[in-house]
Each structure stands twice: as structure tokens, then as C-alpha cells.
């Protein structure tokens, strides 16, 4: 089961909630994996003494130019719409970061001087002792897009038993990942304090997509329940919770832990 944690804006606390949920699942002896889609891991799951080991290499198909067969006709450069191919005096350069692997240049070349090649753009890493914590570490010239998300999910499902729980943490600010995330995952934990954004999402999401669990900050719960979203889970926040989160401790707030227990119930997870 793929469970994604999405926050409507940065710093709202979706990572803290997901990390505490991870710990609770782990305590119940469930087979659970944490997948960070950036190189950051929440302080609760960070083990500074542990070493990262590479489990999978992420490749992308990038055209490679061959000088021997090239006729310098410039047709590849004309056909590239993303500006990833440019000609210098007597050579061409393919910019990996701009290329979107569309193969237009390869088909445009009459001399077959361009060929697709695997290029390493990042790695998926795993702690060597705490083996259920993973992160996707891309080269910093690569931006995490929908392609990378699909690839990461594909790699994770291929590598680990499918019946375990995968918690995906999406970095905030990357809203174009949301639509793909709704299709790929089974459950989406949507954490927000913005009623207008939730109403917009609520209209657009269809039934074949993921199940939504709405979590809101406790002070805006009244606004949500007035508009008919009384099923939202009110999550408390305070200085103490932030303090525990940033220092890498489990949140001890009773109301916070109750929300996590409610998540178990709404996902039909067997707690026994």
C-alpha cells in the first residue's frame, strides 16, 4: 500500500505526521518503508551514525552524439524544442538537464549519429542498519518531476514486497506532482489549513484515484466543518510539538497520537 503525505504549503507539518505514523506502524510490527523524495530525512528517522548504501541507480535515456558519423546538418538542433542540443564550432553538446528524452533528434538524424544511452541521474539509497528508510538522491541539476516520481515508485515496488506499506514524503512546492501522486498511491494524507484549496481539490478528484484522508490544523477545523467537511481530522500544533519534531523525538501530545490511531482505523489496518 502506497501512502503519500502531501502538505498544501511548506512547513505545515506533513512530514512530522507521516514520520510519527511510520513509527506507530513499525511498533505494530508492520512491514513499512519510508521513501523520501529529496535527500532530507525527518529528524525522527535520521540516524547519523548509520551509513547510506546505494540500492538502485536511476537512469534516464539521453542522446549521445557520435562525431565519426555526423554530417553536421544541424537538423537535430532545429528539431529540439527544449533547447537541449546546441552546436559549437565542430561539436554538439547535449544538455542532460534540459532534455526530456523525447527522441525527436534521434529520428531527425539521417546519419544515425545520435543514439540513446543510459545516463546516471541519481541513486536510491538505503540505511545499512535501519533498512526500511530510503531516500531518492538526484543529481542537483535534475529537478524532481513526474517522471522521477513514477520511476521511484516503480523501483520501490520492484525491490520490496508489494504487500508492505510505503510512506512517500513529497517535498513542498512541487504541485505538479500531485496529480500523478493521486493516481499512483492508494491513500493520500492531505494536510492543509486552506479551505479554498481543499474545495478545489475535492471537486476535481475522481473515484478511481486514491482515497483521501483530510488532516487540518485544529484551529481551522471549525471552518472546515461548517462547509461540510466534518470528517477532517483536527491535528493540534504547538511550540512543544515543533520542538519534539525538530529534535527527533516522538510527539507525545495525546490528541496528536489519537489522530494517528484514527488514521489506522480509517485505513482499515489490522492493529492486533
Amino acid at each position: 500500500m502506497i501512502i503519500a503525505g502531501i502538505g498544501s504549503n511548506g512547513g505545515i507539518g506533513q512530514t512530522t505526521l507521516l514520520a510519527n505514523f511510520f513509527v506507530a506502524l513499525h511498533a505494530k510490527k508492520k512491514n513499512v518503508y519510508w521513501v523520501s523524495l529529496s535527500n532530507l530525512v525527518p529528524p525522527l528517522l535520521l540516524h547519523p551514525e548509520d551509513k547510506w548504501t546505494e540500492v538502485e541507480t536511476i537512469y534516464r535515456e539521453i542522446p549521445v552524439w557520435d562525431k565519426q558519423t555526423c554530417a553536421f546538418c544541424d537538423s537535430c538542433q532545429k528539431v529540439c524544442n527544449s533547447g537541449a542540443l546546441s552546436r559549437y564550432a565542430d561539436f554538439y553538446v547535449v544538455y542532460t538537464e534540459l532534455c526530456n528524452s523525447c527522441a525527436a533528434c534521434i529520428y531527425a538524424c539521417n546519419k544515425h549519429a545520435l543514439k540513446f544511452d543510459h545516463k546516471k541521474i541519481g541513486i536510491m539509497e538505503q540505511y545499512s542498519v535501519h533498512q526500511n528508510i530510503l531516500r531518492v538522491n538526484l543529481h542537483n541539476r535534475e529537478i524532481f518531476g513526474p517522471w522521477h516520481l513514477k520511476k521511484a515508485v516503480e523501483l520501490v515496488l520492484k525491490k520490496f514486497p508489494v504487500d508492505s506499506f510505503f510512506l512517500l514524503d513529497i517535498p513542498s512546492g512541487f504541485r505538479e506532482l500531485w496529480a500523478d501522486m493521486f493516481n499512483l498511491s492508494d491513500v493520500v494524507l492531505f494536510f492543509t489549513n486552506d479551505i479554498s484549496m481543499w474545495e478545489m481539490l475535492y471537486k476535481s478528484v475522481t473515484h478511481d484515484q486514491a482515497t483521501f484522508l483530510l488532516v487540518v490544523k485544529s484551529d481551522v477545523y471549525d471552518i472546515f466543518s461548517e462547509r461540510g467537511f466534518s470528517f477532517a481530522l483536527p491535528l493540534p500544533y504547538s511550540k512543544k510539538i515543533s520542538e519534539e519534531s525538530i529534535q527527533g523525538n516522538i510527539v507525545t501530545n495525546k490528541q496528536y497520537q489519537n489522530v494517528i490511531q484514527e488514521l489506522f482505523l480509517s485505513m482499515n489496518i489490522d492493529v492486533e
Binding site: 502538505g7 532530507l40 527544449s82 529537478i143 524532481f144 517535498p171 515543533s242 525538530i246
Partner: protein, 267 residues
């Protein structure tokens, strides 16, 4: 012209809150550019100007010319074209605008159309000018038009003859930040004292080593993790460091602290 760039290692460290405080503090002598495409400026209703911008291309099918042969469906690497009832149809979300289908189409039924990416909006906030962008269409390879917003802000600066540009970049240490960093005179990283922060700060230190830009570090919510804050202060003595406490409202002691810190820096 002097340019200040706000960056951070992860989302939610308080860049936008700080930006709003700067609007209050520095006021109309600066122009503010929000390059993150997450609009939080709806509290200022006064729009000065809106401009559309184009971002990439996508294929469109001419239904009268399409013969439904399916060549484009085979050629597309992104599964963005399907033949439905003898007609090619383009899935807008998947199309990258590579133009390969146009080359294989025997009936010339496909053309490339420029896509409107969104708007660049200029707003008036009590005399100060804020420039930010909206994004309707997300390109598949994750590119964000951050430079379009920043360049627009520079145009505004030149036309109003201001001297200071305050810019906000995407969180993280990626290409979205690299495209803005070279223009900045003062880099202003805003971090929280979490244990992985040193990775980001070391990147910045290496950057400063080779490009010699000024760095003013702001540690937000420093009281949440005092040991890491002390470690940051000890490890980077060459930078100007300001520590701000945790607070739920931004108009309190941290406002005065920031005000007395920032005014002499910006001149």
C-alpha cells in the same frame, strides 16, 4: 542595483513570512519578486499590471485533416496521443511538445501550438511593488520559469528607478536556485536548526569560496533546538547570523530584531 536572494534548504522555514516582514520594513524603496509560483499575496488586492507568458509547446490535432492512421500514436514516446473513434486525440498532461508526431503525420493534421504558462502579476502593497507568477501548465521535465519573474522584476526596477530587489527562490539546492544565485549581491539563507542543515550550509560555503558573494544567515525558530543553533554559530563564524525565535504571529519581537539587523545591511 542591489539584489537580495532568499533561499532555504526545505519548505516552510519562513521565507514568505520573512518576505512579508521585509515589505513592512523596507517598504517602497525596494521591489519584491516571488519566484516560487505559490501565490500567497492575495491579501494585497491592488493589481498594477498582468502579463501572460508562454511556456513550451504542445501538439494539436486538426480533426478535418486527421485520417486516423495511428502513426502518431506509435511515434509518441510519452503515450500522449490516442486514436479514439478514428481520430487522434492529444492528452494535454502528457504532451511535452517535442514535435515528433508532426514529422511522422502523413496528412499534416498536427501542428505545434505555444502554451500559455500563466501570468506575471505586479501588485501594489502600500506603495511597494510585488512581482509574482502563477503557473497553469506544468512542463513535464520540471522546469519552472523562475527567470521570467526575476527579469520582469528587473524591468520594473529600471522603470521606477528603484535601487533594491528582494527575490525569493525555490527551496532546495537545485537548478531552480542556481538560475537565480549568480545575480544576487547578498544571499540570505533561512534555515531551521534541524540536524541535516549542515549539508546545505556546506554547499553554500563552497559556493561562497568560489564566487565571493555576501551571506547573511537567518536561523528561524532557533529556540527549538539550541544545540544545533550553537553548532551553526560556531561552525560558520565568517557569516552574519541572525537568530529569530519561534512564534505563531510575525508581528512581535522578531520583527524589531529583524528591523534593526537588516536596515544597516541594505544601506
Amino acid at each position: 542595483m542591489k539584489e537580495v536572494l532568499l533561499i532555504s534548504d526545505k519548505g516552510g522555514t519562513g521565507k514568505t513570512t520573512l518576505m512579508k516582514m521585509m515589505v513592512e520594513i523596507v517598504g517602497r524603496s525596494a521591489v519584491y519578486a516571488d519566484c516560487t509560483f505559490t501565490s500567497t499575496w492575495h491579501t494585497f488586492p491592488d493589481i498594477i499590471q498582468e502579463d501572460l507568458y508562454y511556456l513550451g509547446q504542445e501538439a494539436i490535432v486538426d480533426d478535418f485533416l486527421c485520417i486516423g492512421c495511428g502513426d502518431c500514436e506509435d511515434a509518441c514516446n510519452f503515450k500522449a496521443i490516442h486514436i479514439i473513434h478514428g481520430q487522434a486525440q492529444v492528452v494535454r498532461q502528457s504532451c511535452t511538445g517535442c514535435g515528433h508526431c508532426i514529422q511522422v503525420c502523413p496528412a499534416n493534421a498536427l501542428t505545434l501550438k505555444q502554451v500559455i504558462g500563466g501570468k506575471i502579476i505586479q501588485k501594489n502593497a502600500n506603495g511597494a511593488i510585488i512581482v509574482y507568477g502563477t503557473l497553469q501548465y506544468y512542463p513535464r521535465n520540471g522546469i519552472r520559469p523562475v527567470r521570467i519573474v526575476r527579469d520582469k522584476a528587473v524591468d520594473v526596477i529600471l522603470s521606477y528607478q528603484k535601487k533594491l530587489l528582494i527575490c525569493e527562490a525555490y527551496p532546495g539546492w537545485s537548478r531552480l536556485t542556481f538560475s537565480l544565485i549568480p545575480f544576487a549581491n547578498i544571499l540570505m539563507p533561512i534555515v531551521e536548526p534541524h540536524p541535516q542543515v549542515f549539508e546545505f550550509l556546506d554547499n553554500l560555503k563552497n559556493y561562497q569560496h568560489s564566487y565571493k558573494s555576501n551571506i547573511v544567515l537567518i536561523v528561524n525558530k532557533y529556540d527549538l533546538n539550541a544545540s544545533v543553533t550553537n553548532q551553526i554559530i560556531a561552525q560558520y563564524p565568517q557569516w552574519n547570523i541572525l537568530t529569530l525565535p519561534y512564534s505563531n504571529t510575525y508581528m512581535d519581537e522578531s520583527y524589531d530584531k529583524l528591523k534593526s539587523f537588516i536596515i544597516p545591511l541594505l544601506g
